[in-house]
């Protein structure tokens, strides 16, 4: 049986935003991620092309 980790309120790891189940769903949704794959590749290509003359 897995032991649940307790995060204490005064520790650093208590404060950052944690993804909701909806965010986690979209992170692994095949169609949405396919769109992201092409969009991010396009962004990277733009950076590569612009970056040096």
């Amino acid at each position: 049986m897995s032991e649940k980790r307790i995060t204490k309120a005064n520790r650093d790891e208590f404060y950052p935003p944690i993804p909701t189940s909806g965010t986690k769903f979209w992170r692994s949704n095949f169609l949405y991620q396919m769109f992201k794959f092409f969009r991010l590749n396009l962004k990277i290509m733009r950076i590569v092309v612009k970056g040096h003359s």
Binding site: S2, E3, K4, R5, T7, R11, D12, E13, F14, Y15, P16, P17, I18, P19, W26, R27, S28, F30, Q33, M34, K36, F37, L40, N41, K43, I44, M45, R46, I47, V48, V49, K50, G51, H52, S53
Partner: protein, 507 residues
């Protein structure tokens, strides 16, 4: 620049004379991302008429970004490396498996042109010395992994590394043992991060921490893993580039929030502003910026060492030591950067080099990690005891490839058309970079954080609000990031192996 055949040496002349009728010799030291890119493009542009020689102590090319997956057993060593001689034979590049020991830019009594003293490392020739003459020299030796700078750090001592595929393979062997103990119900403490107060490459260590968390989750062992991220960053998410700002959820937010979120989601605790000063078996000692000395216990530690130059020397014509004209105190090569010491507030993108040309010897260039940066990108910080605790600037991956490319283009244009003009420039204050941080290896359940910044060095004059182009700076996590990382792995190996249309692929 004028080349005179008589003494095989460059002299400056206002006339621009093409030197394409003379067989030129271009020596590239190192066959990593930058050196291999430079050598491949030089040969492609200059053809058979000119000679390209690569000197590297290893006969392998390795795609270093994928070492993370070797370290968690998702890839074998052979999947991330290949032998160079076969590729270089096909391209007509001369390969010498040797280590560069010293540079002699003015030649000596025997050789009139500049030359590099090398010592062979290949079986059969081990220890043999040779003088390799050059007309142009590209220093792309990469860093020396300076484990010695932190007592007790490194493979064979008290910590592990993923900086080379051999290190990563050894790390996987140790991880298997830890997983074995966890399967027996024994809790294991993992310490991942930077192993020196001025180490860089936080991204690689961060990737490894996330991959560990993913692997434990897949094996349903997360409850037995206590993972701690230790870093010399002032805030996590600095990554040696002073952090960045990204558009996220309707806000412009810093990479600190993004990185802390990813760490917290994976149950990874963190220690920041920490310079590891000593590693003992199962115990790492560190000093923090507030001056306190602490230690943290571990069962498994993967800590990135400091980087230094390769320690090559420089000698003049009469054997006098000219190392200080070629190299900075760190051992990295001096180039066309502004090395004048200035306070952080006066730093500018114009301090950064754009041609990567040595100021004393214009036919010598340094690319990738081998060039000496003018200063860090992150703000320098000192503890009350005087220990400098902040990341050194990153120059790996995309910038290394781009710098290798523009240096090759400039050299080939000088050889073909003469002149001293460098048409191709790559200032890190104008160049962007993409960093794909793997957060789990699986085509359906994997994750990757895609981070892009443009430019790498913040330009506060051009972008007074955020230092960078906010529309080009991205931080996203998802399955697509993993696909991109896999895609880049195969794409860059295809390119490095010189398979069809390799030259069309970007750096």
């Amino acid at each position: 620049m004028r080349y005179t055949k008589k003494n095989r040496r460059f002299t400056y002349n206002s006339q621009a004379n093409p030197i394409q009728d003379i067989r030129m010799k271009i020596v590239v030291l190192g066959a990593g991302i930058s050196g291999h890119t430079a050598a491949a493009l030089l040969k492609k542009k200059l053809g058979r008429q000119h000679e390209v020689i690569v000197v590297s102590p290893s006969e392998y090319y390795q795609w270093i970004p994928s070492n993370i997956w070797v370290g968690v057993g998702r890839m074998s060593v052979e999947q991330v490396r290949f032998k160079l001689p076969r590729v270089y034979d096909r391209w007509g590049i001369v390969f010498k498996q040797a280590k560069a020991v010293s540079i002699h830019p003015e030649g000596d009594e025997e050789i009139k042109s500049g030359f590099v003293s090398v010592e062979y490392t290949s079986e059969g020739n081990k220890g043999k010395k040779e003088k390799v003459a050059y007309d142009f020299l590209v220093n792309a030796t990469g860093p020396k992994l300076n484990f010695e700078a932190t007592p007790g750090l490194g493979p064979g001592k008290n910590s592990l590394s993923v900086c080379s595929c051999d290190h990563a393979s050894h790390t996987w062997d140790e991880l298997k043992k830890a997983i074995g103990l966890m399967k027996q119900g024994k809790k294991q403490r993992f310490l991942i991060g930077t192993g020196h107060p001025k180490a860089t490459c936080q991204g690689a260590a961060f990737e490894y921490a996330l991959n560990l968390a993913f692997e434990f989750k897949q094996r349903k062992l997360s409850h037995l893993a206590d993972i701690t991220w230790i870093s010399n960053e002032y805030e996590v998410g600095d990554f040696g580039m002073g952090g960045a700002f990204i558009k996220r959820g309707g806000y412009i937010t810093s990479t600190k929030v993004f990185t802390e979120s990813v760490l917290a989601e994976n149950n990874i605790s963190w220690i920041k502003r920490a310079g590891v000063i000593k590693v003992e078996p199962g115990l790492a000692h560190y000093e923090t910026l507030d001056g306190s000395s602490n230690s943290v216990e571990f069962d498994f530690a993967m800590l990135i060492p400091a980087f230094a130059g390769q320690g090559m020397k420089g000698y003049g014509k009469n054997g006098e030591d000219i190392t200080s004209r070629l190299f900075a105190a760190s051992g990295f090569m001096l180039v066309d950067a502004d090395y004048t010491p200035k306070p952080f507030e006066e730093w500018s993108v114009s301090d950064w080099p754009e041609r990567y040309q040595n100021p004393s010897y214009p036919n010598i260039y340094a690319t990738g990690i081998a060039f000496a940066p003018p200063h860090s990108i992150s703000k320098p910080m000192k503890s009350p005891e005087g220990t400098e605790i902040f990341p050194s600037p990153p120059r790996t991956g995309m910038p290394s490839g781009v710098i290798g490319k523009i240096v090759a283009e400039n050299i080939s244009e000088i050889i073909k058309h003469g002149g001293t003009n460098h048409r191709h420039l790559a200032n890190m204050g104008r160049m962007g970079a993409a960093c794909i941080v793997s957060a789990g290896y699986s085509m359906t359940r994997g994750l990757g954080a895609t981070m892009t910044v443009s430019p790498i060095v913040p330009d506060w004059e051009k972008y007074p609000d955020w230092g960078r182009d906010i529309n080009a700076t991205v931080g996203e996590i998802g399955l697509a990031g993993h696909w991109i990382k896999i895609f880049l792995h195969y794409m860059f190996l295809h390119k490095a192996k010189g398979y069809p249309f390799w030259w069309l692929l970007p750096e």
